[in-house]
């Protein structure tokens, strides 16, 4: 029984790490600049398709495509930010919603046109397939890789935030934008870089997700709901909060499906609702 509990925790943790990578960017940009970017998962989709193209058309090894997925998603997000999003920082939340949804629609149609609607398979290298036995529990190798990778990324993010000057500027801007501006911090520049980083991470998440959740043009819309849930439960602008929320939701999703298959799909929503009603601004949220 213990082993199955551990197995479920492990799988839930891995799924949560995926959600974390996909969501952390949105949490920070939403918390920092209050810009509702519903096109966030489009960057995830871009990262996924970059990986697929590099692997299937150019024969690159899987791991080598990951940094490119990151960079491509980040670069494209910068283009969008400069041309369109910038104009709407002062606009209402609803207008931002509409613009970014419009962008999602355009991206879905574009990718459907270029890649077709077919599920994109990804052939993982042999050393990432299969499973290992750890103390009587069978753990999937890819999931171990996912967890390790995400933890490394999280560590790097937290280190950057806590120990670098740029990180301090970002934290200041999230806490109190006006004050930060008043102190001479280049908030706009900090935001642009943070936005690119967040979108890049989403791209990375999208690339890593292919093996677990598949990839087709509707990815941009399908995972939006989960990402929003993670961001809301975790608290805007908080990396720790997003981490905790992603884990919690990933594990409760898995546990629900294994232990209570009858209400399995309900569990994730029930968990979200209870958490939000208990802590409306998220687990580690700042705003009242």
């Amino acid at each position: 029984m213990i082993t199955s509990v551990f197995g479920v925790l492990f799988d839930g943790f891995a799924y949560g790490m995926l959600l974390f990578l996909l969501s952390v960017g949105l949490s920070v940009t939403l918390g920092m600049m209050n810009f509702v970017n519903l096109a966030h998962c489009t960057f995830g989709m871009i990262g996924g398709y970059v990986t697929v193209t590099l692997m299937n058309t150019l024969g690159w090894p899987f791991l080598a495509t990951l940094p490119i997925a990151f960079i491509a998603a980040a670069a494209i997000s910068v283009v969008f930010e400069r041309t369109m999003f910038r104009r709407l920082y002062r606009a209402s939340d609803l207008d931002q919603c509409l613009l970014t949804i419009g962008l999602v629609f355009v991206s879905i149609a574009s990718f459907a046109y270029v890649y077709g609607t077919i599920q994109q398979p990804v052939n993982l290298p042999g050393y990432l397939r299969g499973s290992v036995q750890v103390g009587g529990v069978t753990l999937g190798v890819y999931r171990i890789f996912l967890i390790v990778f995400a933890l490394v990324v999280t560590g790097a993010l937290v280190a950057a935030l806590e120990f670098t000057r740029f990180g301090a500027q970002v934290r200041a801007a999230v806490d109190n934008q006006r004050m930060a501006r008043g102190l001479g911090i280049n908030v706009d520049g900090a935001f642009a870089i943070t936005f690119a980083l967040g979108s890049g991470l989403a791209g990375l998440g999208g690339a890593l997700a292919i093996d677990i959740v598949g990839l087709d043009p509707s990815f941009a819309l399908a995972y939006l709901v989960y990402v929003l849930i993670v961001v809301a439960v975790g608290g805007l602008g908080s990396i720790g909060g997003t981490f905790a929320a992603a884990m919690l939701l990933g594990i409760s999703d898995m546990a629900g499906k294994y232990y209570f298959p009858a209400i399995g799909s309900f569990l994730i929503y029930l968990v979200m609702l209870s958490l939000l009603m208990w802590r409306p601004s998220g687990i580690f949220g700042r705003r009242v």
């Binding site: 509409l98 613009l99 419009g102 149609a109 574009s110 459907a112 939000l276």
Partner: protein, 346 residues
């Protein structure tokens, strides 16, 4: 004589001025009769536009006027739709009483939820509405013995409306029905908005804390408007079921909630007609684009949305309002926004 009076004498006069019918409104409602004459082949589409308009109007009541952003409003739409469907399936196919039952059911659900809704703001509120919507969808899927699950409800058969008008293939009855229901509830909404209650809602939207300071408790107001909005959404859903004699899980899903939000924002929130205009434009555009290219019509729709945001802030009606508020706009279109000649006070 210029369109708006120079000085607002007081809240009562302001409300009176708002309540009077403007020329453009009369033209709009007369135009809704055009499809019968000009495009009789499109009546089914027209009836679905009317249903969507009613749904959007219900969302506007809470979003545009009370400031509650809901990503789960399809819950009420779907609840009303399934209620009407089940009543018919169980043998009672009379449309109007079915509609009444659906409105009560949806209203009850809205009333219960309003207690939760009224306590939260901002992102938590949005996600809570989303969560409830998704929960209801899952519940409907699980209860497939009741709802028919993914296959949809079978056996929905409507009796003729008022005993005379069968729901036909061409959609004549459907459009009349949907249009009249829309108009009736529109009148209700209009009256509601242009009343002291409506003003207090706008106050809550702007600054809930300050409203309490002047003695207007926000929570009961929010509960009231949320329930009314739920009733309207449920009615819209019921009309959809009755005119199409079919209902499935699609009436409850996230896509439906998201679509109606997009439609409302497109048309312009807080302007009563925003939802109607948004519904007309979005659904006609979607029908047109998907007819031209069934596979990639998301593209032109997305471009339309982006263009509206970039060039018409605050939605189509918001953009138009901005244009009309200029000197030239008043000269050319002032006649539209003022009451018709026979309605003006000397």
């Amino acid at each position: 004589m210029t369109g708006s009076s120079a000085a607002i004498a007081g809240p009562h006069q302001h409300l009176e001025a708002q309540v009077r019918w403007r020329t453009i409104e009369i033209v709009f409602w007369l135009a809704t009769l055009l499809p019968f004459v000009v495009t009789p082949d499109y009546l089914v589409l027209a009836s679905q536009i009317a249903i969507t308009a009613l749904f959007a109007l219900s969302l506007d009541l809470i979003l545009g006027y009370a400031g509650i952003v809901s990503l789960g409003h399809a819950a009420f739409f779907g609840f009303g739709a399934y209620t009407a469907g089940l009543i018919s399936k169980w043998g009672w196919g009379e449309p109007l009483t079915g509609l009444l039952a659906a409105s009560i059911a949806a209203g009850l659900l809205g009333y219960l939820m309003s207690f939760v809704i009224a306590r939260f703001r901002h992102l938590a509120l949005i996600m809570i509405t989303l969560g409830f919507g998704l929960l209801l969808l899952e519940a409907a899927n699980s209860a497939s013995w009741l709802t028919g699950g993914a296959d949809g409800l079978q056996g929905v058969r409507m009796w003729p409306l008022l005993g005379l008008f069968k729901f036909d293939l061409y959609g004549y009855t459907a459009y009349w029905y949907a249009l009249i229901v829309l108009f009736v509830f529109f009148l209700v909404a209009r009256r509601l908005i242009n009343s002291p209650f409506g003003l207090s809602l706008r106050g809550i939207r702007e600054n809930a804390v300050r409203m309490r300071a002047i003695g207007a408790e926000s929570r009961p107001h929010i509960r009231k408007i949320y329930t009314i909005s739920a009733v309207m959404a449920g009615v819209a859903g019921a009309v959809l079921t009755q005119t199409t004699e079919t209902v499935s899980l699609g009436v409850l899903d996230f896509q439906r909630s998201a679509d109606i939000l997009v439609i409302l924002i497109l048309g312009g929130t807080g302007r009563l007609y925003g939802g109607l205009i948004g519904a007309i434009i979005y659904m006609i555009a979607r029908d047109w684009f998907s007819g031209v290219n069934p596979q990639y019509w998301y593209f032109p729709i997305g471009v339309l949305l982006i263009a509206v945001v970039l060039f018409l802030p605050n939605g189509i009606l918001g953009g138009i309002a901005q244009l009309i508020n200029t000197e030239r706009g008043q000269r050319w279109f002032g006649w539209a926004t003022s009451p018709p000649p026979w309605g003006r006070k000397p």
